[in-house]
Symmetry: D2
Subunit: 415 residues, 4 copies
Amino acid sequence: MPEVVFSVDQARSMRDQNVPGHNRWHPDIPAAATVRPGAEFRVECREWTDGQIGNNDSANDIRDVDLSPCHMLSGPIAVEGAEPGDLLVVDILDLGPIPQETGGIAGQGWGYTGIFAKQNGGGFLTDYYPDAYKAIWDFHGQQATSRHIPGVRFTGITHPGLFGTAPSPELLARWNAREQALIDTDPLRVPPLALPPLTDGTLAGTLTGDALAKVGAEGARTVPPRENGGNHDIKNFTRGSRVFYPVHVPGGMLSGGDLHFSQGDGEITFCGAIEMGGFIDFHVDIIKGGMEKYGVTTNPVFMPGNVEPRYSEFISFVGISVDHGTDTNHYNDATLAYRNACLNAIEYLKTFGYSGEQAYLLLGAAPIEGRVSGVVDIPNACCSLYLPTAIFDFDIRPTADGPRRADRGQCAVSS
Amino acid sequence: MPEVVFSVDQARSMRDQNVPGHNRWHPDIPAAATVRPGAEFRVECREWTDGQIGNNDSANDIRDVDLSPCHMLSGPIAVEGAEPGDLLVVDILDLGPIPQETGGIAGQGWGYTGIFAKQNGGGFLTDYYPDAYKAIWDFHGQQATSRHIPGVRFTGITHPGLFGTAPSPELLARWNAREQALIDTDPLRVPPLALPPLTDGTLAGTLTGDALAKVGAEGARTVPPRENGGNHDIKNFTRGSRVFYPVHVPGGMLSGGDLHFSQGDGEITFCGAIEMGGFIDFHVDIIKGGMEKYGVTTNPVFMPGNVEPRYSEFISFVGISVDHGTDTNHYNDATLAYRNACLNAIEYLKTFGYSGEQAYLLLGAAPIEGRVSGVVDIPNACCSLYLPTAIFDFDIRPTADGPRRADRGQCAVSS
Amino acid sequence: MPEVVFSVDQARSMRDQNVPGHNRWHPDIPAAATVRPGAEFRVECREWTDGQIGNNDSANDIRDVDLSPCHMLSGPIAVEGAEPGDLLVVDILDLGPIPQETGGIAGQGWGYTGIFAKQNGGGFLTDYYPDAYKAIWDFHGQQATSRHIPGVRFTGITHPGLFGTAPSPELLARWNAREQALIDTDPLRVPPLALPPLTDGTLAGTLTGDALAKVGAEGARTVPPRENGGNHDIKNFTRGSRVFYPVHVPGGMLSGGDLHFSQGDGEITFCGAIEMGGFIDFHVDIIKGGMEKYGVTTNPVFMPGNVEPRYSEFISFVGISVDHGTDTNHYNDATLAYRNACLNAIEYLKTFGYSGEQAYLLLGAAPIEGRVSGVVDIPNACCSLYLPTAIFDFDIRPTADGPRRADRGQCAVSS
Amino acid sequence: MPEVVFSVDQARSMRDQNVPGHNRWHPDIPAAATVRPGAEFRVECREWTDGQIGNNDSANDIRDVDLSPCHMLSGPIAVEGAEPGDLLVVDILDLGPIPQETGGIAGQGWGYTGIFAKQNGGGFLTDYYPDAYKAIWDFHGQQATSRHIPGVRFTGITHPGLFGTAPSPELLARWNAREQALIDTDPLRVPPLALPPLTDGTLAGTLTGDALAKVGAEGARTVPPRENGGNHDIKNFTRGSRVFYPVHVPGGMLSGGDLHFSQGDGEITFCGAIEMGGFIDFHVDIIKGGMEKYGVTTNPVFMPGNVEPRYSEFISFVGISVDHGTDTNHYNDATLAYRNACLNAIEYLKTFGYSGEQAYLLLGAAPIEGRVSGVVDIPNACCSLYLPTAIFDFDIRPTADGPRRADRGQCAVSS
């Protein structure tokens, strides 16, 4: 086990750790640890809500979740010698749930997937599923099952939802400007178009007083992915991956968390992965001047690992950029096309006895593939969704006999 | 070799075949052949432009292509007993280029990838690459190389770009209405938002006179995928795939063509696959009442085959829904996110010496994966693109030494 | 389609072709064609018995097969500039059954797997299954089914069983000496330990008279693999493979045939693959002095292709080097260990209702993996056999309910 | 983390644990713990020599290793309700090195591969490499590198070398009889043909006095795999695997250890895996009467997991059953064929600058495939060995330029 450079006592909030983490992106947040290029080290992580969600059969905690402290990140880790323009080479050597305990914090033998209520951010299908729901997943080594979605067992594609480097002041200012401009186009929208800086709940490592207030006033929220990496929610950042992060400040300042036991492409329920606290082991190195050398001007580049769960048979669903409810054609809209592919998959799963909510949660959590299949056949973008058949303990394929419908229970609902 | 139920003489236009195919979707187009459930049969196909593109080093033919006759489809094949509401089970047993000849028609040992000019439909990156370009690919069994993109050799993920069933009159009317409504929002846009029915160049099998004129006036263009399947351009419809098509008219009336030797997710150059004529072998069956049984209300469902080319190492690119040129944030726009992932990949490849056009053509043709990674982390959708490293004959991975830049020639350009 | 440099009229014996092939290894057999390094070309092949086996429900033809003319090979193809000590680089671009016909010759839409009778060579389990049996397989694109083994459908791992270069006179003499020495240890054994040269039935291209008689008297039989490649029966010589053959005579003199639609590791029924005639497309090149450069002193080196059928779930069987019938321990005998793994798999399949013969034929033909798992844990070698579960249309995995036994018919037997 | 039912303090010998394990197979060894069907639990393991091998640059410890205490196993674990004739369903949920420490015991961040001296058991190529050698591997998450074999980095295929159930007295007696009969055929052979019971060094859990002496006198050595499972050294018993063990005594009595960070097929250096102590997490269940239901009369059946490292390009080597040194032909001897494939691979690797010992160690440790390709083409069995090209940081494929030879250091040797 490599040296732990950021440690977490899971019995306490991130705010109460010996060295606290942070929940905003800002260049002023001081390094929690410093490592050298070539170092291997461990970072321990809280689950992203800092422990608000319980292992129970009610979705009230999902409905009532306070998003102001999210995501609770570990770091920043400064890498000696990293300078703006470099690429920070980050190998994800290993990651997993909280190793040594069982208990009430997600990651201690279990995790959860939530559908957020439309009033609280919503999810990808919030117009169809506006209420809060939850599924609890039990871990069995690398596999997961859920009492809320019976008949399913799959190998998780474990990965961090969120890691990134610190923005420079200039980059941060651009983020805030462009996102506020978007908000200003429809400031009262529910859910909102974007999330502006928020002082409430801000944590910035050891900063206090004015320094903390500055981070609260300026710090970018952690929800979207941006030029520093951030909340990619790319399920393929698995063990053995190598990520090349742009460096925007001296030391690079690597931070992250939001570990996922598994996730389907899109993370469609918003809190759609199987969320957990845990650990992640890194190796870091630097490519001097790598951004220019390799033409990296915006987002990170990466190479996925080679131990993703291997499935070979899929039942697949197609969506196009038409609003079928109103028969309205949108122009080459891959978001809508993928939404339709998801809805088509849910309707299919319902014929086997699952509720729509269960199917929605499953598509968020299981290692499904979501592909941009066609984005030139105007006016209809075409996306496709690949669901492994082997994750079901019954035959999910279409046959002349029709689907094997059964009572498949229900997920956790809100009261 | 199964019985050929739709044959093509590649020396002649689709219009001049003994039994001609068609290039619009319309329920009045008569069956070119009839098969029974359980049948295995072969359909021969023209390449989608009916032979307008040559094996040469000029992109003028791409620039000047006449789209009115496209796509030239083989069929319809009626399946006995298929009725509206059924699912037509279509196994893709085999497909490939034109088997017995060499010559000047795409599919005769070679194929092409084109970037359409902005004035003629454009492609996914038409604002960045508004002119016409072309790459010719030589076939070596299942592998392809191009004199226009040296240093690359890959196994094609061979598939039909376009197969579908005939629409009912009601469904056709809905298509025309919703697409016209979209066009009406910006009728002068270049390229257009959608393509309305077009009498010029219409081919409707053996129909002539008023019957042909009716198909020309009402028939849906073949470019977009719709509820009947159609031009999905899903690269995973490979050998061994099983597709479940909705049936909208008696007999189902299966038609198709637009065979691709290979294609990357998105088919980003519009004519982005490696286009070819050839053959496709089917087995068909019926699930009676399958649409209701399995909750299929819009698009087909499918199961991909198990002989896709196996690559295991990728260099991957990320895009988010920000217009980086103007620093404008768009809301959860997966189309824009994937466009940025493509642009990032192109910039990366340029550091090795490829022109942007070459890189663009390569991403359209090689078996790259395009994934909808995150569509809930507002405001930024996140898409990712996976480029197999093994298709290059040099090391494409980032290293401390920087990219191995070389003179890598140029694709075919227009004069 | 590349140029055909060795053509076969499947209506006629190999003996009656315009340019006949050969069925012995001998340096005197003249080149049937000559190609240059860098050439791509097609070779057409007879099935290995030259058409002795029919598409019917009797195994009498298997029982009575005349092995003296086997294997009927296409070639030799001389490669300009190849000299002893070089490596001949052979790319298998494509291969498949007889393309343009249906009919009575294996490869015309069907193939066969045979269990040879103990009196006629036997197979790997000949002490357990001493009689002749046969299964006919129907081709559906890349997939196969058999009326003789219902409930099974799989994607074939198509490959040539046999390709190789010509031996030098010295190498040929060594082969004959060492094989005769083996035969001499038990000359009356049934089946024999090895097959000496045999004049009867010898075909040596266009040679006649004394030249032919010399080949008959000296020519090595084609059954075993040797330093020239030969009858490897390695199922992984699939499309896209690259083989580096040692060159022992000027021109290399590449010959081969024995095409297999599919085969399991070991080819355990002897005629255990799905046998067929067909075509194979090659690209050739030379590495000058490659044998010494790469330390190749005996057998070819190769790189398998990347389109092998992708299965991801297996039921696996283990065997050790103990004769369980007599409780006799053999020392680190991988042959015996693999035989036991095969027998264990057969006993397992019998509990589902298959006959032992059906199971034996299936293991010979389906793309099963056979692995040398442990060869150091004295005294017991350990081999393992991996059977893809997805090839069965019922659940083949062990469950608490026990196997789903059914009447599964029977293979073709001899009268 | 599941409950630990067998715990190990890695600072102490297995003999000095609170509940010691055992190193012989015998039905009298009492259960160290009892679990119910459906239980999930952890077993901690010593590395197989109980800590005799150090992380240093001398192979003297390998040369001088005392095999009498090997393998040091954890267990037995009794499963309530298991009875002779049942199948014990054992899921390998997870396994890995020693989690919480760094230090001098294999598994604490490192492991080793050894070539045993011919005088001390030898390995698969002991006639070619009769002396002792060693390589130390450093763990980086799931990947390994070695200062003794530079230029190589691979993802380990982590698995237990040895797990099994207890033999019945009758089965044990048969083992002893048949192995002694083998030894008697050449009792003075070096290395010996098999290992008879050995009182010295016997550990039998908490047994002492006469009971311990009886186990020493009768207990089967742990080196070979047998009808109870045992030392399979099947590299595919990875995370997610399900093994169905025959039950021979009440409770089944599951024991094991010999964890491997990685191993190539064959474990050819004898101590050829990357050896380590660590932990393994199980789920167990029972199929009542499963041996008869599924025709399991000898060895376990298993289903491998789906997270094996994914490699897609291989350089492959072929061997046949000829002793090329003496030009002696053996009959269908897969052991010899695989030995030749290994020797051919070693000669190939030597042309790049590795010593033979380094190459031998690498083939033992890396996730190479060893296949029984043909065992019917008399007289020559044919085996093949698949080495992933991606594990090298230089191009290992044959090219016209010849191998990239470099100084690649040397492994640990004995003085």
